[in-house]
């Protein structure tokens, strides 16, 4: 079983997963997975729905723990017991942030301001520091005008931005993003992609799950393709995007009917790209 690290260069390790297996009752979500994530790399986890990407993100965020195998975070064992430890648990939560796919589950406070303040307050930051960081984060995400609004009354694009702000305020070294562009209109998706592109060279380790092939060259240095709980392939985005048989096998590329200008209707695979 090979240990995969397509970055190649020797770098400090953020995560090291060894033979990780996770099951939901009878369904195996992750099957003896081995993965190393180096510090500062931007990783894309690609795969069709149900391929185990989101489960992996939860394991990386210490929200669930493997039935078999081990997870190490910056050299320390990441287990249910270690995360309960006040010192390690608080440090881990400060250093790792997860943005959920469904922003509704992440937005539970009465106002956007309270929502963004939630994380720092749980980590016992000083009140003045929290207020200053909230102002900066809201401005950075261009949502200052929403600060007194209830998160439940926002559009999906605004909710995603608030969810991202609620994590970014902690300035985590490792950012875990679950389908960041899912269910967004083109303008909101573009805003999100611009943000992800700006993370390039920022020193953060970013792990993004997606099945949107259009964005991976912009948001990732390395790709891991998931299929039935295992890593089917890994490599730089250009290499993965060029492997049509792989993309078809793993459900990332499909044929669908479409109409050409001539009026002809037929089906073949398409990889949609945006204009530069």
């Amino acid at each position: 079983m090979s240990r995969l690290n397509p970055g190649g260069a020797v770098q400090a390790t953020a995560y090291e997963l060894t033979d990780v297996t996770y099951r939901y009752r009878d369904v195996t979500a992750l099957d003896r997975l081995n993965l190393t994530v180096s510090v500062g790399r931007r990783i894309a986890l690609l795969g069709a729905n149900g391929s185990g990407k989101s489960t992996l993100l939860r394991i990386l965020d210490g929200l669930c723990f493997p039935d078999e195998g081990t997870v190490r975070f910056c050299g320390n064992s990441l287990t249910e017991e270690s995360i309960q430890n006040d010192g390690f648990g608080m440090d881990f939560r400060r250093r790792v942030g997860l943005v959920f796919q469904n922003p509704d589950v992440q937005l539970f406070s009465p106002t956007v301001f309270d929502e963004v303040a939630f994380g720092p307050l749980q980590l016992r930051w000083a009140a003045d520091h929290v207020r200053r960081k909230i102002a900066e984060t809201l401005e950075m995400m261009e949502i200052t005008h929403l600060k007194d609004r209830s998160p439940h009354h926002l559009s999906m694009g605004e909710k995603k931005r608030v969810a991202l702000a609620s994590v970014l305020i902690l300035d985590p070294e490792i950012l875990l993003l679950d389908e960041p562009t899912a269910a967004l209109d083109p303008r909101s998706a573009s805003h999100m992609i611009n943000f992800l592109v700006r993370l390039r060279g920022g020193g953060k380790t970013v792990v993004t799950t997606t099945h949107d092939l259009d964005i991976i060259e912009d948001v990732a240095d390395d790709c891991f393709v998931f299929h039935e709980g295992r890593i089917a392939a890994s490599g730089p985005p250009a290499q993965i995007l060029g492997d049509t048989p792989l993309l078809k096998t793993t459900g990332l590329l499909h044929s669908h009917l479409h109409v050409h200008k001539s009026g002809e209707v037929h089906a073949h695979s398409h990889l949609h790209r945006h204009e530069h």
């Binding site: 648990g89 608080m90 939560r93 589950v105 539970f108 106002t111 939630f118 749980q122 009140a127 209830s150």
Partner: protein, 276 residues
Amino acid sequence: MPANSGKRSFLERSTSSFVDAMEHAFYAESTARADGLLQRIDPRVKLLGILALIVPAAAARNFAVIACLFAVAVALAALSSVPFGVLLKRVWVPVLLFTGIIVLPAPFVAPGQVVYHLPALGWSVTAQGLASAGYLVLRAETAATFCVLLVLTTRWNHVLKALRVLHVPAVLVTILGMTHRYLFLVLQSAHDMFESRRSRIIGELTPGERRRVAASSAGVLMSKTFDLSNEVYLAMQSRGYRTDISTLDQFQVRGFDWAMLGAFAAVSITALWLGR
């Protein structure tokens, strides 16, 4: 296919009403920020003070004393910018209807001095029956008004934090907090589910079919609720939540709060004394 515009079931109407009610819960957050007497009091003092007023309202055996406590509640509402229309709609009418149904038999079945005979039915109305019905309705109205004033003039996070400061078990406070956080999402989900089902139903369902639809919907909703509660809890954990509530505002008892606590205590003790 046009959506069925037939009559909505009891369950659909109920979830729709609940969604409206939860929308009103956000209104409560805005009244809590208004500049009024109760809003200026430290939440812990307010919680203790309101409890101190509810006790004599429940225990007093003198109608005039309970009426005076009700007048105190009305005065507090006026001084705290809580509109009477809101109290009328959310407290006074619903409580009157609810307790009214409960106490309806009392004037006819309670033994005592007969003051009136119903002409058609020949039933006797007793003075003792009328008095006990009046006591119950007034007690319920007074206690409910105090409770609603507390909720309408205090941000929910502060209520929870005040409960913890007053040594209410963390488990109970956590359950309250979680309930508030995802109740809205569950109700919205139920509402959407019924809307979606209604859009696919043509004509009237038989009572048996309605029962089957209601039973299956309840099952699906329960499953969704479980998943959702789990997701919300994970999202909270991901940002450092453990068991205690942290808010940006630090509670501080000032001279004004001590004065108000004294006033609450004086009214409570006087009412208990006079109403014994």
